[in-house]
């Protein structure tokens, strides 16, 4: 048995907006992702050159050496628009809240070995500054990039990094009884401790990269992958025998995030590299250069935490394989 309500029907005169119909055909309805993304950025007839960069228009394809016939080819496989993005993150954050109260209620962090507690403070907590650098770079890509397809998810990623920096901050606050002392210690390590300086040097260098697609390769493809693999795989496993299980729970957001983020980043890189040999060469060169730099920067951290840096080679091998699958030639 079915129940059928009678309504007054009205034939739509068109399915979607003209710019989307021209891409998809006029007789196909468009998704909210498509209507909220495709061609949303202005492309023509700008009025004034920016006072701060008069060599370009505000939206200008020449801000990267990568060339795309259509920048809207760089679609997001997650099909995120603001609503779906926020709802996804709110759900992930709900799990974070449950974990934090679980860990805090049972005082699980008291079970950290003393030396591991120290490592968490001087090596995991400074990751909040790495995340802040990532936030700046992804915001910059949203600012300087071309086409909403890639710029909107870049702003989402920027806010993700801020959110993750704040989760790490909360781990610090959970460790120091909300005094913020551990965060100060972590910042001092970030600024001065020898094991952090290669990383900080690299992060600062990414902040001044002018080509936004190179910055994307450096940050989203390479640095996120290398630093997260170090902090949330290598360091995390090393902590398991030292009472670090609650830290794994508290950083589960990052693990889930990385899996999801990788889908997006891979789609962008793969499509851009497949566009032309010139793109492939450029992106491969950037990926190669930044990978070797990031691997070198993470070695002292690894040595500091687990005694030697050999584990880093597995990160390098995994990423090289991943990049090859994306069509990059390292």
């Amino acid at each position: 048995m079915t129940v059928e309500l009678r309504t007054m029907s009205l034939e739509p005169r068109r399915h979607t907006f003209g710019h989307i119909a021209r891409r998809k055909g006029a007789d196909v309805p468009a998704s909210r992702y498509e209507e909220g993304t495709l061609d949303l950025q202005a492309t023509d007839n700008f009025h004034y050159k920016p006072l701060w960069e008069p060599e370009y228009w505000v939206y200008d394809t020449r801000k990267t050496a990568v060339v795309m016939k259509d920048w809207y080819d760089l679609k997001d496989p997650r099909q995120y628009y603001y609503a779906t993005y926020n709802i996804a993150r709110a759900n992930m954050q709900q799990a974070v809240e449950r974990t934090f109260s679980f860990v805090e209620k049972r005082a699980m962090l008291d079970g950290l070995d003393a030396d591991w507690r120290e490592k968490i403070i001087d090596t995991l907590l400074p990751m909040r500054h790495v995340a802040w650098g990532a936030n700046m770079n992804m915001t910059n890509i949203c600012d300087r990039g071309y086409g909403t397809a890639v710029t909107a998810p870049s702003q989402f990623a920027a806010m993700d990094h801020l959110g993750m920096a704040q989760i790490i901050s909360r781990i610090g606050l959970a460790l120091d009884g909300n005094s913020g002392e551990s965060l100060d210690t972590a910042k001092t390590a970030w600024m001065d401790a020898p094991h952090w300086q290669d990383m900080r040097h690299m992060v600062e260098d990414t902040l001044v990269v002018k080509d936004w697609f190179e910055q994307y390769v450096a940050q989203a493809l390479v640095i996120d992958a290398v630093t997260h693999a170090f902090a949330f795989d290598i360091m995390d496993s090393a902590g398991q025998t030292k009472g670090g299980a609650p830290i794994s729970m508290m950083t589960e957001f990052m693990v889930e995030w990385r899996a999801e983020q990788t889908r997006w980043v891979d789609a962008v890189i793969k499509t851009a590299a497949a566009e032309s040999d010139a793109n492939r060469a450029l992106i491969s060169g950037w990926a190669k250069g930044w990978l070797s730099r990031a691997v070198d920067a993470v070695k002292p951290l690894c040595a500091h935490v687990v005694g030697d840096a050999s584990a880093v080679s597995s990160i390098e091998a995994e990423l090289s394989a991943r990049f090859a699958k994306l069509g990059l030639a390292l």
Partner: protein, 504 residues
């Protein structure tokens, strides 16, 4: 160890404030290359008072809740053909103006706040700007999603993106935002954060949303309510920016004052489109433009500038002229669109007798004397089959890009003309306000992409009106011309007839 209880302010500070650092491998001026050239002096970024103290956990939570509710309403609006439940088919033209003229500005704000959110040196303002960037993306996307339903049944929406980059009157809002985007990060924050979001938002966003409420547009008004808490955050950021800049260094005052003067006048000109929407396009009127101006600028703005007086900031230059223009602006703008209905992306009409009586009541000093006779004459001409079209291309003001149809302050029968010379060329303006803006930055404003100049230079598809309309992607006879006889009106009438039959 017993954890100290954290207040909101402290929690925010611990989670956000310490994130940044003084770079040493790269000079700070390389990392932040754009925050000095405007001459603004910041001595201590830590003095920035974070106005919302919002961390990402709460941001995601609040915003996700709002989105769930909003999209539930949009789905039900679509399912129930809510677009046919508005007060009258004419109302739909107001949201055409909104989607083509305003929504692309929300997008621009999204990217502009990303720029500010990257390039302001202090972490507090940077985080606030980033959140606003994300909010503005929300606004453009939810507006497109809301109005998408109208687009399926009515004309004038389908080419909003294409038109925003090309159509003559849309260069008014577009150039406004291009101007802000091409300015430095501090001017951008003053232009958009303060002048637009704080001083003028009640005259832009609110009239459209209230218009939606009065005219049965449940989707748009739900979007409006949903955006309200974002908007109040943005307003708080806007006022914080001004106070921060003025507190940081006395040398900032003259710079900020110049920006406030400029952006007040720029905003006032863009709002002319809203004025005509309120007075002419809403079948059920919320209030007159003049009343809105009195409440939201004269009174609320007056109190605001009184509050800012302690920093030495004065009421924007030409605020008195803008107030005097509130008697005329909507009428003069609607007249322009009536004459150029063939080149407009929405429908026009002459006000009915009842509407003219309402206008007389709301504009006792000006309507009957200057504008009613014009409409009555045009009505006679329509009756005689000689509907008036202006087939000449209008001269545009180089600054605001509005056709030069505004009259002299205090002399409503004389068109105002101003001009300046720059590098051997003469530039024309509609007002002293627009001339001043040009004279302060002639190298910037001499670049203006003026639609009429561009047509004459052959950059807009051809030399005839049909060529240009084709270049606009204007569906001639459907998107443009009078409401009466339009496909929109036919569909509306057919639907109403069907409804009556069902009601029997």
């Amino acid at each position: 160890m017993a954890a100290k209880k954290l207040g909101l302010k402290q929690r925010y500070a611990l989670m956000t404030r310490g994130l940044d650092w003084e770079t040493t491998y790269q000079p700070m001026d390389e990392v932040f290359p754009f925050d000095k050239f405007e001459g603004i002096k910041i001595t201590d970024w830590s003095k920035w008072e974070d106005p919302f103290r919002l961390t990402m956990d709460n941001y995601w939570k609040f915003q996700a809740e709002k989105e769930r509710k909003l999209y539930a309403v949009l789905d039900s609006f679509a399912q129930n053909n809510g677009q046919m439940g508005v007060s009258d088919a004419k109302y739909v033209n107001a949201i055409k103006l909104f989607l083509t003229g305003v929504s692309p500005l929300e997008y621009q704000a999204h990217r502009g706040f990303a720029h500010a959110g990257r390039h302001l040196r202090g972490v507090g303002p940077r985080v606030a700007a980033q959140m606003q960037s994300l909010d503005e993306l929300r606004h453009v996307q939810t507006q497109v999603h809301t109005i998408s339903q109208y687009n399926k049944y009515f004309d004038g929406f389908a080419e909003f993106r294409h038109m925003h980059d090309r159509v003559w009157y849309l260069s008014v809002p577009k150039s406004f935002f291009d101007d802000a985007r091409s300015a430095g990060p501090f001017e951008y924050m003053v232009a958009i954060g303060f002048a637009f979001e704080y001083v003028l938002t009640n005259l832009l966003f609110v009239p459209f949303m209230s218009g939606a409420a009065y005219n049965g547009d449940m989707a748009t008004v739900t979007f409006g309510f949903s955006a309200q808490s974002d908007e109040s955050r943005h307003m708080t950021l806007g006022i914080e920016v001004i106070k921060f800049l003025l507190e940081q260094h006395p040398d900032n005052l003259p710079i900020v004052q110049k920006w406030v003067d400029k952006w007040f006048w720029r905003g006032h000109r863009v709002l002319g489109l809203v004025a005509m929407m309120m007075d002419y396009m809403l079948p059920k009127k919320v209030m007159s433009w003049k009343e809105a101006w009195e409440i939201y600028f004269t009174e609320a703005g007056g109190a605001l500038f009184q509050d800012l007086e302690r920093y030495g900031l004065r009421v924007p230059k030409y605020a008195d002229v803008a107030t005097a223009e509130a008697e005329h602006m909507s009428h003069q703008n609607w007249s322009i669109f009536y004459q150029y209905t063939h080149a407009a992306g929405f429908h026009t009409w002459l006000p009915s007798d009842e509407e003219m009586d309402w206008l007389s009541e709301k504009y006792p000093n000006t309507f009957d004397k200057y504008y009613r006779p014009r409409y009555e004459m045009w009505r006679e001409m329509e009756k005689d089959g000689k509907r008036f079209y202006n087939n000449a291309l209008p001269q545009l003001c180089t600054t605001c890009q509005i056709p030069m149809g505004y009259t002299e302050p205090g002399d409503p029968t004389t068109i105002a003309f101003r001009s300046s010379e720059y590098k051997g060329d003469r530039y024309h303006f509609c007002s002293d306000g627009c001339k001043d803006i040009f004279d302060n930055e002639p190298e910037k404003f001499s670049q203006s992409w003026l639609p009429v100049h561009q047509i004459f230079q052959g950059n807009c598809g051809g030399a005839t009106v049909p060529d240009v309309l084709a270049w606009y992607n204007m569906n001639v006879g459907a998107d443009n011309m009078d409401q009466a006889g339009s496909p929109d009106q036919k569909i509306w009438d057919a639907w109403k007839t069907k409804q009556e039959k069902v009601a029997g």
